[in-house]
C-alpha cells in the first residue's frame, strides 16, 4: 500500500508533538523544527499531487482495515491540490511568523502544526465522522491561534467565534447521527452507494441529514446568513494567523464539493438539495461583502471582507453543478487563497511601517517604502480582478463558464458590479494609506519605527511572486483543475477506488 496520502497529516502531527515537548528550548530551535516540518510537508504534497494526478484516487486504509468498516483517507485530485495550496501558504506564513510574531505567546509553532494537521486531514479524509474530527482539530488550533498575542479585541472576537463553531459542531453531530441511524454507514463512498436504495419511509430523514450537513459546511464556508462571524474573527487575528485562516473557508467549500459531487448528486433522495437557493445565497453574500469592503475602517478588515466575497463567488460552483464551472472555481479557489493570504501579510507590513496608527484608514506620515506600494498595487489589482493579474483570469474563467446557465445575467451583474465596488474601495484605501497626509505637520512622524523585518518582507513578496506565477502557469493549472473537476463529476471512479466490490460485502442485520 502506498503511504503517501497519510504523510501530509502525519508530518505536521509529529512536528507538533515534538514542539510541545520542546517548549522550554530556545525559540530558534522551535522555528527550525517547524520549518523542517513545513519543508517536508511541501515535498510530500507535491509528491501526492503527482501521484493523485496519474489515475484513480489514491486510497489509504488505516491499519489495513478495508472500507466501509475501516477508516480511509482518499487523495483525489481536488484533495491533493488543496493540500499543496495549504503547504505553500503555510511555508510563507511560518516565515512571516518567525519574524517575531511567534514570540508573542507560548506554543505558537506546536499549535500552528496542529492547525495544518486539521486542514490537511479535512481535505484528505474519506469518511464524514473523521471529517468532523479533523474539523474540530482545525478549529481548536484556530481558536488558540486567534487568541495568540492577547488583548481584549482578540478575546471578544474569539469568544463569539468559538461559541458559533461549537454550535456548528452540535449540528454536525446531529447530521452524523441521522446519517448513521438511517444509512448505517459514515464512509463517503458507502453513503453514495446506500443513498441509491433508501426506502421511502426514511427518505425525509435522510434528506434532513443531508441538509444539516450542508448547513454546517456553509457555516464554515461563510455563506450569508451564516457569515457574520468571519469579518470580526479575521480582522482581529494577527496578520500571519489571518493569512493561514484564508484557507479555512476553503475547507468548507472543498467539503461541500466532495460530499455533493460524490454522494448527493446521483441520489434521487437528495435531488435539488442545493440547486435552487444556494445561488441566491452566494450572490447575496457577494453583495454583502462588497458593502463590507466599502465600509471597512482598516486594511486588515477590508481583506477579511475580500475573503468573504471570494467565498461567495466560490459557492456558485456547488449551486450550478457543471464540470466547466467546477474547473474554473477550483482555479479561483487556489488563486484567492494565495492572494488573500498575501494581502493579510501585506496589511501586517503596512501596519508595521505606519507605527502606532497601524493599518487603520487615518491620515498619518508617508510610507516611504516603494516596495510596499508596489506590492499593495499588485495585490489590490489581483483581488479586484483587473487584467493581467491572476484574479482577472480566475473571475474571467468563472464568468465564461456560467455563460450557459439561466442565472447568467444575475451572476454577471453581481460579480462585475461587486468587482467595480471593490476596485473603488481598494483605490480609496491605497490613496489614504500611501498618499494623503495632514496639512499641518504630524506629531506621529517623530515616532521611532522598528526596522524592516527581512523575513516578513520575504514571506509576503514570495507569496506575491507565487500569485504572479499563477498567471504564467495558468494553462497547466487550469488543465489540472479541469481534470480534478472531471474526476469529481464522475463519482463512480472514487467509489470504486474505495469499495471495489460492494456487492460482496456482508452487512449485519441491525438490531
Amino acid at each position: 500500500m502506498n503511504h503517501s496520502p497519510i504523510l501530509p497529516i502525519i508530518v505536521p502531527f509529529i512536528a507538533s508533538i515534538m514542539l510541545l515537548m520542546m517548549n522550554a528550548t530556545q525559540l530558534s530551535w522551535q522555528r527550525g523544527v517547524s520549518a523542517l516540518s513545513v519543508t517536508l510537508l511541501l515535498a510530500v504534497s507535491i509528491n501526492l499531487l503527482l501521484l493523485a494526478d496519474q489515475s484513480a484516487p489514491l486510497v489509504y486504509a488505516l491499519g489495513e482495515w478495508q472500507a466501509p468498516f475501516g477508516i480511509v483517507l482518499v487523495a483525489d485530485r481536488l484533495a491533493a491540490l488543496a493540500v499543496l495550496t495549504t503547504a505553500v501558504l503555510s511555508a510563507s506564513v511560518l516565515l512571516y511568523a518567525s519574524g517575531g510574531f511567534d514570540s508573542k505567546g507560548r506554543h505558537f509553532h506546536a499549535v500552528f502544526q496542529l492547525q495544518l494537521v486539521g486542514i490537511n486531514g479535512a481535505f484528505l479524509t474519506g469518511d464524514v465522522f473523521n471529517l468532523f474530527v479533523f474539523f474540530e482539530i482545525m478549529l481548536l488550533a484556530s481558536y488558540i491561534l486567534l487568541a495568540h498575542g492577547g488583548g481584549l479585541i482578540k478575546s471578544r472576537a474569539g469568544f463569539a467565534y468559538v461559541i458559533l463553531n461549537l454550535a456548528g459542531s452540535a449540528v454536525f453531530l446531529i447530521a452524523l447521527g441521522l446519517i448513521y441511524g438511517t444509512l448505517g454507514t459514515l464512509n463517503l463512498a458507502d453513503i453514495a452507494i446506500q443513498l441509491k436504495t433508501v426506502p421511502a419511509s426514511e427518505a425525509s430523514l435522510v434528506r434532513l441529514s443531508g441538509a444539516l450537513l450542508m448547513t454546517v459546511f456553509l457555516l464554515k464556508a461563510a455563506v450569508l446568513p451564516l457569515s457574520f462571524w468571519l469579518p470580526h474573527a479575521y480582522s482581529a487575528a494577527g496578520a500571519p494567523v489571518a493569512a493561514l485562516f484564508a484557507i479555512m473557508t476553503k475547507v468548507g467549500i472543498v467539503a461541500i464539493l466532495h460530499v455533493q459531487m460524490i454522494a448527493f448528486n446521483a441520489a434521487p433522495v437528495m435531488h435539488g438539495l442545493l440547486g435552487s437557493w444556494l445561488i441566491v445565497a452566494a450572490l447575496v453574500t457577494i453583495v454583502f461583502a462588497a458593502l463590507g469592503i466599502l465600509s471597512a475602517k482598516s486594511l486588515q478588515s477590508l481583506v477579511a471582507w475580500l475573503i468573504l466575497g471570494s467565498a461567495g463567488l466560490l459557492l456558485i460552483v456547488p449551486s450550478l453543478n457543471n464540470v466547466v464551472i467546477t474547473a474554473a472555481g477550483l482555479y479561483y479557489l487556489v488563486q484567492s487563497a494565495i492572494v488573500g493570504a498575501a494581502f493579510f501579510m501585506m496589511a501586517g507590513l503596512i501596519s508595521n511601517a505606519r507605527g502606532r496608527v497601524g493599518d487603520a484608514f487615518v491620515m498619518t506620515t508617508w510610507v516611504s517604502d516603494n516596495k510596499l506600494k508596489l506590492g499593495y498595487f499588485i495585490l489590490a489589482a489581483t483581488a479586484a480582478g483587473l487584467p493581467p493579474f491572476s484574479g482577472f483570469i480566475g473571475k474571467l474563467m468563472l464568468l465564461f463558464a456560467v455563460k450557459e446557465s439561466v442565472m447568467m445575467p444575475a451572476i454577471w451583474a453581481v460579480v462585475l458590479i461587486a468587482s467595480l465596488v471593490t476596485t473603488i474601495a481598494l483605490v480609496k484605501a491605497g490613496s489614504r494609506l500611501f498618499w494623503e497626509m495632514p496639512i499641518d505637520g504630524d506629531p506621529l512622524s517623530q515616532e521611532r519605527l522598528p526596522p524592516n523585518n527581512k523575513r516578513q518582507h520575504f514571506a509576503t513578496f514570495g507569496l506575491i511572486a507565487i500569485s504572479l506565477l499563477l498567471i504564467v502557469f495558468a494553462k497547466p493549472l487550469s488543465d489540472l483543475t479541469l481534470r480534478a473537476a472531471q474526476q469529481l463529476h464522475a463519482p463512480e471512479q472514487y467509489i470504486h477506488a474505495v469499495i471495489p466490490h460492494h456487492a460482496d460485502i456482508q452487512r449485519g442485520v441491525r438490531p
Binding site: 487568541a147 478575546s155 468559538v162 461549537l166 459514515l186 438490531p511
Partner: protein, 121 residues
C-alpha cells in the same frame, strides 16, 4: 423507553438554547454544555436502543447492540470536554480584561455604556 429518551433530548436542547441566548458568558457556556449532552444522547440513539446486550458481534451472540455509536459518542465527549475547558478559560480571560462577564466584553474605559448594557438585560 424511546419516548423518555426523546423527551430528555428535547428538554436538554430547549434549556441549552434558552441559556445560549443569554447575555452573560457563563450561562452561554452552560447552554452549550447542555446542548452537547443532548447531542451525545442523540448520537447514542442512532444505533437503536437495546437493553442488556453486549456491543460485540460474535457467532454465539444473537442479541447485540451496535458498538459504533458508542465509539462516536466517546469521541464527541472528549472533543466537547476539551472545547468547554478552552471556552471557559477564554471567558475568564475576557472577564479579567474587561472587568465584566458580558458577551460583548465591553472595555473598562466604556464603563458607563457597559452599565447601560447591564440594565437592558
Amino acid at each position: 423507553m424511546e419516548a423518555m429518551l426523546a423527551v430528555a433530548i428535547g428538554l436538554l436542547f430547549g434549556c441549552g438554547v434558552y441559556l445560549m441566548l443569554r447575555a452573560r458568558t457563563l450561562p452561554v457556556i452552560l447552554g452549550l454544555a447542555l446542548i452537547s449532552y443532548a447531542v451525545n444522547l442523540f448520537l447514542f440513539a442512532s444505533g437503536r436502543l437495546v437493553i442488556n446486550a453486549p456491543p460485540i458481534i460474535h457467532a454465539d451472540i444473537k442479541h447485540y447492540t451496535d458498538p459504533i455509536p458508542q465509539a462516536l459518542v466517546l469521541t464527541a465527549i472528549v472533543i466537547g470536554f476539551g472545547m468547554t475547558a478552552y471556552i471557559l478559560t477564554l471567558a475568564l480571560r475576557g472577564l479579567s480584561e474587561s472587568g465584566d462577564d458580558h458577551i460583548d466584553m465591553v472595555e473598562k474605559a466604556e464603563s458607563t455604556s457597559s452599565t447601560q448594557v447591564k440594565k437592558r438585560h
